[in-house]
C-alpha cells in the first residue's frame, strides 16, 4: 500500500489561502478584491483550519480552491490586465503631453460588462429577486449621498435613477407590504414575484461620511448592484408590460431644478411613471414644479385627464413606431391604476377582497393632502403603493407662487385659472397628513392624521383608528411588522397580568425544589420588596431561614415562576421532576448541548421578563399619576 503523504488531500487541497489565490491569479490584491465582489466569491472557514493550513495554526483566510480555479478563466480578469496596460499607456501619453494620443486611448479604454456575471450568479430571475435586499439598500444609500471627490455625481445620479425606477414599479404594481420607520431609516418590504424584498432607505439628510470608510469597496459593490438592478428592472418592467427605461420628460426634469433636492426626489419618482396613477392630482403636482410654459401645455392635458378619457402622455406625434409602442405601453401603465381607483371609489367593500387585495387597495378611496413638514418621499411612496392619491403642499406652493423674476414667461401665467384648478383638486382631499403640534385652521371634511397612521394601517392590513393619530396627539408606539425577534409581544399584556395576580396567591404553598440563577435574584428582589406587605415578607424570611434556605432563593423563585406558566397541578410537577431525573442519565455531550439550549431559552425569557416588568412598572406609574391628578 502506498503511504499517504500529509497535506496532499482533503482540506489541504480543497482550501487555498488568499495569498496563494492572488499569486495563482496573478492579480493585485485590489483587483482580486474586485473580482471577488463581482463574482460573489467569499472566504470559507474550513472545518479544521489547521488541516487546511497544512499544520500551521496561524490565522489565515481561506478560499475554496475550486472557486479560484473557476476565476482563472474569467474574462473580466483579462480586462483588468488590459486596463493596467491602458493606464500605463495613458500616463505615458499624458507625461509626454500627447493630448490627442491620450484622448484616443481614453476613448478606447478597455471596458467590461457584468451582465454575464449577473446571469452566472443568478441563473434564474427569482434568484436575482431574492438577493435584491443588499443591492437596494446600497443603491438607496448612494442615491442619498452627495457627490464628492470619491463619489462622482454620475454614480449618485445613476443610483437615484434606478431607485426611482424601482419605487415607481413597486408603487404602480402596489407590491409594498410593510413599512417600518426606524431610527436608522425606513424599512420597506415588498413582495416581488412571490419573494420578500426588504430594503432600508436612509432619511433624507446629509449623511455623515466617516473618514475611514473605503469607498472603493462600496463603489465596486455599487457597480455590480447597479448592473443587477438594471437587468432586474428591465425584466420586471417587461413582465408588467411597461417600457424600460421609463421616459423622462425633459421639460419637467428641467423644471425640477428650482426646487430643493428633498422635494425633488419624490417629484422625480412621480414624473418617471406615476403621473396618471393618481389621476389629475399627481399630474398637477408634478407639473407644478415645471416652468410656466411647460405647465400651460401640461395643464391642458390635465384637464383631459380629469375628464377621464385621455390618458395620453405628452409625446410628440412625429415619432417612430417604436416610440408609439412605448406610448402604448405607457398608456397601459397609466390606465390601470386610475380605473382601480375608480372602482374602489364606487364599491368600497374590503371584506370581499382577499387580504392581499385589501392591502393593495387600502387607501384607494382616499386623496391625501401632505403638509410641507412631512417627509414626502416616505409618505408619498407608501400612499401611492396603497392606491391613494397624493397632493403635496410644497408642490402647490411652487405652482401658485411662481417667482416672476426667475421665470421668463411669468407674465403669461394665468394665476386665477391656476387657483381655480387647485381649488378643484383640493375639494377632493379626504385626508390631510400633518406632522405639527397644532394647526391654525382646519379645512372641513378632512381627516387629519399623522404620518404614522399610514404605516400602522399598512402593517396591520386594515385602517387604524384615526383618533389615536390626530394632530398633536401622543402617538401609540410604532411596532416593527417583523415582531420583536425574542418573543416579547408588547401588545399582549392585559390577560397575563390577570394570571399573575392569581399566581401570587399560590406562592406560599410552593416548596423549594428548584435552583435559580443568582443573576436574576439581585435584580428582582429589590423590585419586589416595595410591593409586598412588609410584615408578611418578614415572616417568610424567618420561616425560610429556619428551614436552612437562603431567603433570596425563595423570593427569586417566586419571581421566576411569575414569568413562567403557573404549574399548579401535581402531575405537571411530577413530570418536571422526572425530567430532572432523566437529565442525570444524559451523556456529557448531550448535557452540554442541552445546557446551551437552556441558556438561550433562559436569556430570551429573562429579556422578556425584564421588559414585562418594566412595562408593569410604567403602567403602575401612569395609573398612579392619573389617580393623583
Amino acid at each position: 500500500m502506498r503511504i499517504k503523504k500529509r497535506h496532499q488531500a482533503g482540506a489541504a487541497k480543497n482550501f487555498i489561502t488568499r495569498t496563494q489565490a492572488v499569486k495563482k491569479l496573478q492579480l493585485s490584491l485590489a483587483d482580486f478584491r474586485r473580482i471577488c465582489i463581482f463574482k460573489g466569491i467569499y472566504p470559507r472557514a474550513p472545518r479544521s483550519a489547521k488541516k487546511a493550513n497544512k499544520g500551521s495554526t496561524a490565522p489565515t483566510t481561506f478560499y475554496y480552491t475550486k472557486d479560484i480555479q473557476y476565476l482563472l478563466h474569467e474574462p473580466v480578469i483579462q480586462k483588468f490586465r488590459d486596463h493596467k496596460i491602458f493606464a500605463r499607456k495613458l500616463s505615458r501619453a499624458l507625461g509626454r503631453g500627447d493630448v490627442s494620443d491620450a484622448k484616443r486611448l481614453d476613448e478606447n479604454r478597455p471596458r467590461y460588462k457584468l451582465d454575464r456575471i449577473v446571469k452566472e450568479r443568478y441563473p434564474t430571475f427569482l434568484d436575482a429577486v431574492r438577493d435584491l435586499d443588499d443591492s437596494l439598500s446600497m443603491l438607496f444609500l448612494f442615491a442619498a449621498m452627495p457627490a464628492s471627490d470619491k463619489i462622482s455625481a454620475r454614480v449618485t445620479e445613476e443610483a437615484e435613477k434606478l431607485c426611482n425606477q424601482w419605487m415607481a414599479y413597486i408603487s404602480r404594481e402596489r407590491l409594498l407590504r410593510k413599512v417600518f420607520v426606524s431610527i436608522k431609516g425606513v424599512y420597506y418590504e415588498a413582495e416581488v414575484k412571490g419573494q420578500e424584498v426588504v430594503w432600508l432607505v436612509p432619511f433624507r439628510f446629509p449623511q455623515n461620511v466617516p473618514a475611514d470608510v473605503d469607498f472603493r469597496i462600496m463603489l465596486t459593490f455599487l457597480e455590480f448592484y447597479n448592473t443587477l438592478l438594471q437587468f432586474v428592472l428591465y425584466k420586471l418592467y417587461a413582465d408588467a408590460g411597461l417600457v424600460y427605461p421609463p421616459k423622462i420628460d425633459s421639460a419637467k426634469e428641467q423644471g425640477v431644478g428650482g426646487i430643493s433636492a428633498y422635494v425633488m426626489e419624490s417629484k422625480r419618482d412621480k414624473e418617471l411613471s406615476l403621473q396618471a396613477s393618481t389621476t389629475a392630482t399627481a399630474i398637477t403636482e408634478s407639473e407644478m414644479e415645471s416652468r410656466a410654459q411647460t405647465i400651460s401645455t401640461v395643464l391642458s392635458k390635465i384637464t383631459n385627464d380629469a375628464a377621464g378619457d385621455a390618458n395620453e402622455y405628452p409625446v410628440d406625434n412625429d415619432e417612430d413606431d417604436d416610440e408609439e409602442e412605448a406610448t402604448e405601453k405607457l398608456d397601459q401603465f397609466t390606465a390601470l391604476p386610475s380605473t382601480d381607483t375608480a372602482i374602489s371609489d364606487i364599491i368600497p367593500q374590503p371584506e370581499e377582497m382577499s387580504p392581499e387585495d385589501a392591502i393593495r387597495n387600502l387607501l384607494s378611496p382616499f386623496t391625501f393632502f401632505i403638509g410641507r413638514e412631512v417627509s414626502l418621499d416616505i409618505v408619498e411612496f407608501t400612499i401611492l403603493s396603497l392606491g391613494g392619491a397624493v397632493i403635496s403642499e410644497s408642490a402647490l406652493d411652487a405652482y401658485l407662487n411662481v417667482d416672476t423674476d426667475a421665470v421668463p414667461d411669468a407674465g403669461e401665467i394665468d394665476f386665477d385659472a391656476r387657483q381655480r384648478e387647485v381649488d378643484a383638486l383640493l375639494s377632493k382631499v379626504t385626508h390631510q397628513v400633518c406632522d405639527r403640534p397644532a394647526l391654525a385652521s382646519r379645512a372641513p371634511g378632512r381627516i387629519y392624521v399623522q404620518p404614522q397612521w399610514i404605516f400602522d394601517s399598512l402593517n396591520r392590513g386594515r385602517l387604524a383608528p384615526v383618533d389615536d393619530y390626530g394632530v398633536g396627539a401622543t402617538l401609540p408606539p410604532h411596532l416593527s411588522p417583523w415582531g420583536d425577534g425574542a418573543g416579547y409581544d408588547p401588545e399582549a399584556m392585559g390577560e397575563e397580568e390577570v394570571m399573575e395576580a392569581s399566581e401570587e396567591e399560590d406562592e406560599g404553598v410552593e416548596g423549594d425544589e428548584e435552583e435559580v440563577e443568582i443573576e436574576e435574584e439581585n435584580l428582582e428582589v429589590e423590585e419586589e420588596e416595595g410591593e409586598e406587605d412588609e410584615a408578611l415578607q418578614h415572616q417568610r424570611e424567618l420561616e425560610s431561614e429556619a428551614n436552612g434556605i437562603m431567603y433570596s432563593s425563595t423570593t427569586s423563585k417566586k419571581r421566576k415562576r411569575a414569568g413562567e406558566k403557573p404549574k399548579t397541578s401535581a402531575a405537571e410537577k411530577q413530570a418536571e421532576e422526572e425530567k430532572e431525573l432523566r437529565k442525570i442519565m444524559m451523556t456529557n455531550k448531550q448535557k452540554k448541548l442541552y445546557n446551551q439550549m437552556q441558556y438561550g431559552i433562559q436569556k430570551k425569557d429573562y429579556r422578556r421578563d425584564t421588559l414585562k416588568n418594566k412595562k408593569r412598572k410604567l403602567e403602575k406609574n401612569k395609573q398612579h399619576k392619573k389617580r393623583v391628578l
Binding site: 417587461a238 406632522d435 410604532h478 421532576e577 431525573l581
Partner: protein
C-alpha cells in the same frame, strides 16, 4: 650569452623600454627589406658568425611545414608573444633570411618528411622556438607579397631573429666563462668575460646597474658605496655637493629637479618635461599611454549601399508584391464601412454603465439546487421593535443600561444602537453610522469567512434519554416516614438487623442506639467511648444471634443488645464466648516477639453491663466494619494502618489476621463478596478484588475518580457501584471492563455512600448536598444486555450541617425502604 639574458629580462623588468623597442622594430623592418634583396642576389652569404649548420637545417624544416599555413590571422594572434623579442640585432637573421628565400625556390615535397625526422632528433629544444621560427618565415614571405603591412611584419621578423639567435647561442654556454674562482660558499663560481657589447645592443648604458635588488638604499648610508654591479664590484657613491651647494640648489631649482634621488645612480633624479606630464596624467587617472581617446568614427554599417551585399539571398517576393490576403481584409473593412457596419471614429459615449439592457433571463432556466459548497450570504437581520422611532416605552434603556452600553466596546455590543423615542416623525434625525453599517455589511459580504452552521432546530427535551417511567418501577422509597432523633452528634453509622426490625445507629457522641424501625422508638443505647465517635455499626448477618459490631476509635465492640428474647441472647453469647479458649492459647504465629495485630479482650464491667461482650483493640482507628455473609468473619478497615489496614477477624476463634503483607495505599472500604470467597478492597483510586481461596488479585477496577468514598457489590456479585468525593458515581460491570460502564455526575457535593438493595433492583447514593438519589438498576441474566439504570427519586430531607449531608445509608433487607444517617443528628426512614 649575457646579452641574450639581458635582452630577455628587459621587457619584464623595465616596461617603459617598449617605446624605444618600437623604434627598433621599424629599423629592423627596413633592414629586413634590404636583407631580402640582398639575399636574392648573393646566395648563402654568411655575414654573421653565429650561424652554424644547425640553424640552417632548422630553417629548412620549418619552411616545409609552413607551406601549409598561409593565413595572416595567425600572426596577429601571436603578436603579443613576439613583443618580448624586440630590439634584437638585425644582422642575426640575415642568414636565415637568405636561407628562406632559397627554400622558396627549392623543391619542397621531397625533403619535407626526412627533415622533420631529423629535426625531431636533433632538437631537444622547446617547441616554442620552432614555432616562432615558422612564423618568422611566413612573415618574410608575405612581406614580399604586400608592402603595406610592413609594420606588422617587421615586428615578427624581428622576433624571429631574436629566436634564431637565442636558439643558436644556447649551444655554446661554456665558451663564455673566463675562469672559475671559489665563491663564498666554497663552490666554484664562474667569472664571465666582460661583455662585448654588440653594435646593435642598446643596453650598453645599463652596464653598471646596481644589483642590490630590494635592499633599501638607506642601508648603504654608512658606506662609501651604494651597491654592487653584476660582477660584485662596488659602485661608489657619486660625489654629493657640499652643504652650500645643496642650499644653492634649494634656492635655484634647476629644471627637472624633483628632490628625489635616483635609486640606481644615487644622483638627483631629474625628470624631463614629458616625463613630468606623464606622471601628472597618471596622477589624474588619465590615460598615460599614447592613445587618442577621440578618434574619428568609422562607419562600418552605413546607409551607403555597398557594392557587395552582406547576404547573397535574392529579394523575397513579398517585398515588392502587395499581399492579397491583406487586400482581402482591407476590402472587408472597406465594405463594412460602406455598409455602415463599422463607423470609424464613432464617438464612444457614456460611462461604463451605459450598456444595452436586455432580458437576461429570457431562456428561463428551471430553478436548480445551488451547489453544495455554495453558502449564500445571510440576509440582514430584520429590525425589531426597539429600533422603531417610536418604540413602546419599556424598550427604552434605563440609566444603567445606557451606561453599560456606552461602556462596552462597540465590537462587543449586542446591538449597535440604543433605542430612542421621538414624539413625531418630523423630529427624527439622521442615523450617524448609516454609511458605516452599510460598509461593514459590504465587508462582511466579501471578506467574512462563511461557514455553514447547522442550527439544531430540535426540542431540547428530545435530548433527554428515553427511560421507563419511575412510576412503572415501583416500589422505591419516596417519602420520609420516620425520623429517629436522639443523637447529639453526626450520625455516622447505621445498620438494620437481618430481621428488619431494629435499626442501630452510631454517632459522633460515642453512643450506639437501637431503634424500633416502625415507631422510631429508641429501645437501647450505650456509650461505647466518651471521646471517640462511633465510626461503624453493623449487625451480624446471622439470624437469631443478635450480634452487633460497632467501632469507636481503635476498638471494635461486639455487643449483644438486650432487646431480643432469651434464646437469641444465649445463642449470641455462646457464639461470642466460644473463642475465648482459642484466644488463651498462644498465637500460632512463628514470631513470638511480634506484637499481635489486635487484642481480643473482655470489656469493662460497665460496658459488659451495657451488653458489650467482646472488645477487640486494634492499633489504629477502625473506620469500617463489614461482615462475611456467614457471620463468623468480619473485616475492619483502619485507613491509617498501612499493611494492617484491613484485618479479618474470626469470632469463633477470637482470631485476627491481616491478609496483606504490604500496604496497598489508603484503604477506604473492604467488603466480602456476597457468596464467593472474595474480598473487595477499595483504595483511593482503585477497587481491587482478591480471591481469598487462591490468595491472589483477580481484578483491579479503575473508576476514574480521584478519591473513592465508598463502593458496594451487587447481590449477584457481577456489578460494583462506587461513589467518590469528586461527586461521581460509577457503575462497573465486572464482565465488561475495569473501566466504568457508566459514570454519572449529578450530586452537587461529595458522594458519601452508595448501597445496593439486597433483593430489589435498587441502589442509592448519598451525598454531602443532603440528597439521596435512588436508582433502579436491573442486571439482566443475558450477558449481551447491558444493565438498565433509571433514576427514580431524589430524596431531600437531611439538612446540610457544616457542609456535611447524608453520611450513611442502608436498605431494609426485604422492603424497599431506605435508612439514612445524616450529619444533622438524625436518621430517617424513607418508605415507598
Amino acid at each position: 650569452m649575457a646579452k641574450r639574458k639581458i635582452a630577455r629580462k628587459k621587457p619584464a623588468a623595465d616596461p617603459p623600454a617598449t617605446a624605444p623597442g618600437t623604434g627598433n622594430r621599424t629599423n629592423s623592418k627596413l633592414q629586413l627589406v634590404q636583407q631580402r634583396q640582398r639575399a636574392t642576389e648573393e646566395d648563402e652569404d654568411n655575414e654573421d658568425g653565429y650561424i652554424d649548420d644547425e640553424a640552417e637545417e632548422v630553417e629548412e624544416d620549418e619552411e616545409d611545414e609552413l607551406e601549409d599555413e598561409s593565413d595572416l590571422g595567425d600572426y596577429v594572434s601571436e603578436d603579443d608573444e613576439y613583443d618580448h623579442f624586440e630590439g634584437l640585432i638585425d644582422g642575426a637573421i640575415s642568414d636565415s633570411e637568405s636561407e628562406d628565400e632559397a627554400g622558396d625556390d627549392a623543391a619542397e615535397g621531397d625533403d619535407g618528411e626526412n627533415d622533420a625526422d631529423e629535426e625531431a632528433a636533433m632538437f631537444g629544444e622547446d617547441d616554442e622556438v620552432v614555432q616562432q621560427e615558422e612564423t618568422a618565415e611566413v612573415i618574410t614571405n608575405s612581406v614580399s607579397d604586400d608592402d603595406e603591412e610592413d609594420e606588422y611584419l617587421s615586428k615578427y621578423s624581428a622576433a624571429s631573429e631574436a629566436e634564431s639567435f637565442s636558439s643558436i647561442s644556447s649551444g655554446e654556454d661554456d665558451n663564455r666563462v673566463a675562469y672559475h674562482t671559489t665563491g663564498a660558499d666554497g663552490k666554484p663560481r664562474p667569472i664571465y668575460h666582460e661583455i662585448d657589447p654588440h653594435y646593435s645592443s642598446d643596453d650598453s648604458d645599463l652596464e653598471d646597474t646596481n644589483t642590490i635588488g630590494n635592499v633599501p638604499l638607506s642601508a648603504y648610508d654608512e658606506y662609501p658605496h651604494i651597491g654592487y654591479d653584476i660582477n660584485g664590484k662596488r659602485i661608489m657613491r657619486p660625489a654629493t655637493g657640499s652643504a652650500l651647494d645643496s642650499l644653492l640648489d634649494s634656492i635655484e631649482v634647476p629644471t627637472g629637479w624633483t628632490g628625489l634621488i635616483d635609486r640606481e645612480s644615487g644622483a638627483d633624479l631629474k625628470l624631463t618635461q614629458e616625463e613630468l606630464e606623464l606622471v601628472k596624467k597618471i596622477q589624474l587617472g588619465e590615460n598615460a599611454g599614447d592613445v587618442n581617446p577621440y578618434e574619428d568614427t568609422i562607419e562600418w554599417f552605413s546607409s551607403k549601399t555597398e557594392v557587395t551585399p552582406l547576404s547573397a539571398a535574392p529579394e523575397p517576393k513579398r517585398r515588392f508584391v502587395p499581399s492579397k490576403h491583406e487586400a482581402k481584409r482591407i476590402m472587408k473593412i472597406v465594405k463594412a464601412i460602406r455598409e455602415g457596419r463599422i463607423v470609424p471614429n464613432k464617438p464612444k459615449v457614456g460611462p461604463e454603465y451605459d450598456q444595452p439592457v436586455y432580458d437576461l433571463w429570457a431562456d428561463d432556466l428551471p430553478e436548480q439546487q445551488p451547489h453544495i459548497m455554495h453558502i449564500p450570504a445571510p440576509k440582514m437581520a430584520k429590525p425589531t421593535n426597539d429600533e422603531s422611532y417610536n418604540p413602546p416605552e419599556e424598550y427604552l434603556p434605563s440609566e444603567e443600561e445606557r451606561d453599560a452600553w456606552n461602556k462596552t466596546d462597540p465590537v462587543d455590543r449586542e446591538k449597535d444602537y440604543l433605542p430612542r423615542k421621538f414624539s413625531s416623525l418630523r423630529t427624527v434625525p439622521r442615523y450617524e453610522s448609516f454609511i458605516r453599517e452599510r460598509f461593514e455589511r459590504s465587508l462582511d459580504l466579501y471578506l467574512a469567512p462563511r461557514v455553514r452552521k447547522n442550527k439544531l432546530n430540535i426540542d431540547p427535551d428530545s435530548l433527554l434519554p428515553k427511560l421507563p417511567s419511575p412510576q412503572d418501577l415501583r416500589p422505591f422509597p419516596i417519602k420520609c416516614s420516620v425520623t429517629y432523633r436522639g443523637h447529639k452528634g453526626r450520625v455516622r453509622a447505621i445498620s438494620i438487623d437481618p430481621s428488619g426490625l431494629w435499626l442501630a445507629t452510631g454517632a459522633d457522641d460515642g453512643t450506639v442506639r437501637i431503634w424500633e424501625v416502625l415507631t422510631g422508638r429508641e429501645v437501647w443505647n450505650t456509650i461505647l467511648d466518651d471521646d471517640e465517635a462511633v465510626q461503624s455499626v453493623e449487625w451480624s448477618p446471622l439470624k437469631g444471634c443478635g450480634i452487633l459490631a460497632a467501632s469507636a476509635g481503635e476498638r471494635v465492640f461486639l455487643c449483644l443488645p438486650p432487646i431480643f428474647d432469651d434464646e437469641t441472647e444465649t445463642m449470641g453469647q455462646e457464639l461470642l464466648a466460644a473463642g475465648w479458649g482459642y484466644a488463651a492459647q498462644p498465637a500460632p504465629t512463628d514470631d513470638i516477639n511480634k506484637e499481635p495485630l489486635c487484642k481480643w479482650t473482655k470489656p469493662s464491667t460497665k460496658l459488659a453491663y451495657q451488653g458489650v461482650d467482646v472488645v477487640i483493640v486494634c492499633r489504629k482507628t477502625v473506620k469500617q466494619i463489614a461482615w462475611h455473609r456467614k457471620g463468623d468473619y468480619f473485616t475492619s478497615v483502619s485507613p491509617e494502618g498501612a499493611n494492617m489496614a484491613v484485618l479479618v477477624h474470626q469470632i469463633s476463634k477470637h482470631n485476627s489476621q491481616s491478609p496483606f503483607r504490604k500496604s496497598k495505599g489508603i484503604i477506604q472500604r473492604a467488603l466480602f463478596h456476597p457468596f464467593k470467597p472474595m474480598l473487595y478492597v477499595a483504595t483511593q483510586r482503585y477497587v481491587r478484588i482478591y480471591d481469598l481461596s487462591t490468595q491472589s488479585l483477580t481484578k483491579a477496577l479503575q473508576p476514574g475518580a480521584r478519591w473513592l468514598s465508598s463502593f458496594d457489590i451487587h447481590p449477584q456479585g457481577d456489578n460494583v457501584v462506587t461513589g467518590s468525593y469528586d461527586k461521581r458515581v460509577t457503575w462497573h460491570d465486572l464482565d465488561l471492563s475495569t473501566k466504568p460502564y457508566r459514570t454519572l455526575r449529578y450530586h452537587a457535593r461529595a458522594v458519601r455512600d452508595v448501597r445496593f438493595h439486597a433483593r430489589l433492583p435498587l441502589f442509592c447514593s448519598a451525598s454531602d448536598d443532603g440528597h439521596i438519589n435512588v436508582f433502579h438498576g436491573t442486571v439482566y441474566d443475558d450477558l449481551l444486555k447491558n444493565p438498565l439504570l433509571v433514576p427514580l427519586k431524589v430524596l431531600k430531607g437531611h439538612s446540610v450541617v457544616q457542609s456535611l449531608g447524608v453520611l450513611k445509608v442502608t436498605w431494609h433487607p426485604k422492603e424497599a425502604w431506605l435508612f439514612s444517617a445524616g450529619a444533622d443528628g438524625t436518621a430517617k426512614l424513607w418508605t415507598s
